[in-house]
Amino acid sequence: MDELLSAEQRQLRDSAGKLCADRGGAKRARALRDAGRDFDVEAWQAVRDAGWLGMLVPEDRGGLGLGAVELYIVLEQAGRQVLMTPHLETIAAGWLLAATQASSPVLPPLLAGERIVVPALDADGWAFRRAGTMRVPAFASSADDFVIETGQGLGLLPNRHDAVTTNVDGSHAGTLLATERATIIARDNEARALAAKLGDLLALGSAIELLGLCESAMTLALEHVKTRRQFGQPLGSFQALQHRLADNFVDLELNRSLLHRICLAWDAGTAVPAMIAAAKARAVRVAAEVMRNALQLHGAIGYTDEHDIGTLWKHALALSARYGNELTQAARFARLTAEET
């Protein structure tokens, strides 16, 4: 899709690529995990300084007033470099706070990177629930507030750091034990419409980051098979391996186009939830295949904690599980398209 970007968009891609390369990387993600943190403070400052947090917020509300295509550009780079910051969540929350009728006092500190707001909603706009409790899939330690669904509408709930658990990539999930102290930010129809769109945005964003992760996994796999020699040949000369990589490439090309087209549709106001459900479901399925193949091609080294390919895989697992995994999103797609015929 790079061929279709404007000069400004190319500039954004290049600067986002540099930011993520400087402040991200699998090694850094491992160090963060080992330190028990799911939040990279230095990277966060760079993300804030670059204006990402307000990218979907109109300029007159203090944002950059950009669209979904720009979101794609930035998230693809973040995914490639395993950037461990709540950028997607905060961008989505910023969009939400700027979209509600009532102006929220939380928006300015959010845009300043001082207040981290993390949605606890799934792709249908409903709260993630498990055994009667409400779950936060990511950044449960770093968040200052959560966006939750309540009986009265959408609300902001301050983080009390209840029951935090750790994901395989070092990110933190949590359980919200008490939800009655939420500040309501949208009610009734407005709340339902915004919640659904917020869920879509998170599903779409996580699908784009998965694409970026897969691109990095492909790069690692290709480098490896071009240099590693067995039986007197580079591994990459074996046709059985070549064809599997070719199939991975084809699958990623399709995902790239699908995500890009959906972003164009989002900006044109023609995106529908079924498209996004399809894109996340496919992003997760393809990520599992690309990662499995990349790990396999690495042989034993791919099973070590110190190699980047495993770090990419674990982050892919985390992004796959949150905001609707393959089967959840496929079932949602089936539901949304069931009336046809």
Binding site: E3, S237, H243, E253, L254, A265, M275, F333, T337
Partner: protein, 393 residues
């Protein structure tokens, strides 16, 4: 799926939408009813009046430049024309003259060749076939052995061509023949000849396909004399000449239409047979519809890139691999939807028309074999896109 190919992910401008409406109305009024929604293959003679009608309306060659009688249409408009013909269930003209050799004659033919061949391709008077494959030269096309020896102002051709679609109906064949058996690499010894199929010494034998119709044929050449004036491009330039096809062709052969139709039919059929009540059926339908959506997005994206100077090399093989696999898997599901009738050789009646599920399954074999197998396309991606090495010897 609740989406229409006309609107989903399409880049139609206001002008394009107007053109689409115009085509839709015209096709509805003019496509011969007897040729629409046919399950069996329509042979070239029966297709001629429809070809002629499109020709007379000026729509037979959207991709040819205006000066040669084409429309000089944008790729988007070429796709619109194709989509609207397909939507009406009408057949599309055979590609061998219009899409394969026509553009090559335009690019590499002499003025005399252009004047002689192009008008009859446009009007449909001449049916063409492609003489590339041989019994011993399929994926390894450069190993072809049909021999042509230049003797004064004629070539003498001896050999055997095979898997030639419409070979038994063709008036003309564009053939790759070996003119230098010593050439290294082998493709440097190949020449493109335009061969009159009524020449003495040609024997044509139809070959029945799995589907049951005689789609292709084999041809035996026994001292066939071909005038030197029928050589296209220079001597031993055939390989390069054959590569001069415009490439827009892939957007018609690679169009997601088969999967679109099959998945719709599978839904309808499954509701009749009860397969719809199986969670397994619906899971697989969902997975294929998601893949279809992704392929449709890729297809539109690729069409947008086509013709741009940095358009990626991977477009053709990706369309071939992804589109072919998707269509075949969709035909598989259609067979599953039919339940016990999945092996029937007869038509099954549906509200939207009749379908012969096994015939569709058979027909889809073509997509992963004809004009470059899936494996050859994976090789292209591996070597030329991903830069993977050849084996060291």
């Amino acid at each position: 799926m609740p989406w229409d190919i006309a609107s989903l992910f399409a880049d139609d401008s206001a002008e394009d939408r107007r053109f689409r409406a115009e085509v839709r109305d015209w096709v509805a009024a003019n496509a011969p009813r007897a040729l629409c929604h046919r399950r069996s293959r329509i042979q070239p003679p029966e297709l001629k009046p429809w070809h002629r009608k499109l020709f007379e309306h000026g729509w037979i060659a959207p991709h040819w430049p205006k000066e040669y009688g084409g429309m000089g249409a944008s790729l988007t408009q070429q796709i619109i024309l194709f989509e609207e013909i397909v939507r009406a269930g009408a057949p599309t003209p055979y590609p061998h003259g219009l899409n394969f050799i026509g553009p090559i004659i335009i690019a590499a033919g002499t003025d005399e060749q252009k004047a002689r061949f192009l008008p009859r391709i446009l009007s449909g008077e001449a049916t063409w076939c492609q003489g590339y494959s041989e019994a011993g030269a399929g994926s390894d096309l450069a190993s072809l052995a049909t021999r042509a020896v230049l003797d004064g102002d004629h070539f003498t051709v001896n050999g055997h061509k095979m898997w030639t679609t419409n070979g038994h109906y063709a008036d003309w064949m564009f053939a790759l023949v070996r003119t230098d058996p010593e050439a290294k690499p082998r493709h440097a010894g190949i020449t493109m000849l335009l061969i009159d199929m009524r020449s003495p010494g040609i024997t044509v034998r139809p070959i029945q396909t799995l589907k049951g119709d005689a789609e292709f044929a084999e041809e035996f050449f026994d001292d066939v004399r071909v005038p030197k004036a029928n050589m296209l491009g220079g001597l031993n330039q055939g390989w390069r000449i054959a590569g001069m096809v415009l490439g827009g062709e892939r957007f018609t052969t690679g169009h997601p239409r088969y999967a679109l139709v099959y998945l719709q039919q599978a839904r309808e059929l499954a509701k009749r047979t009860g397969a719809w009540n199986d969670a397994g059926f619906r899971d697989r339908l969902t997975a294929l519809e998601i893949d279809l959506l992704a392929f449709l997005a890729y297809y539109r994206h690729a069409a947008k890139l086509h013709g741009m100077k940095d358009a990626p090399l991977s477009i053709a093989p990706v369309i071939k691999i992804a589109g072919g696999t998707l269509a075949q898997r969709s035909a598989d599901l259609l067979v599953q939807a039919a339940g016990e009738a999945g092996a029937s050789a007869d038509d099954i009646l549906l509200g939207s028309g009749a379908v012969n599920v096994a015939a569709e399954l058979f027909e889809m074999r073509r997509l992963s074999v004809g004009s470059g197998t899936t494996e050859i396309n994976r090789n292209i991606i591996s070597k030329r896109v991903l830069g993977l090495p050849d084996a060291e010897r």
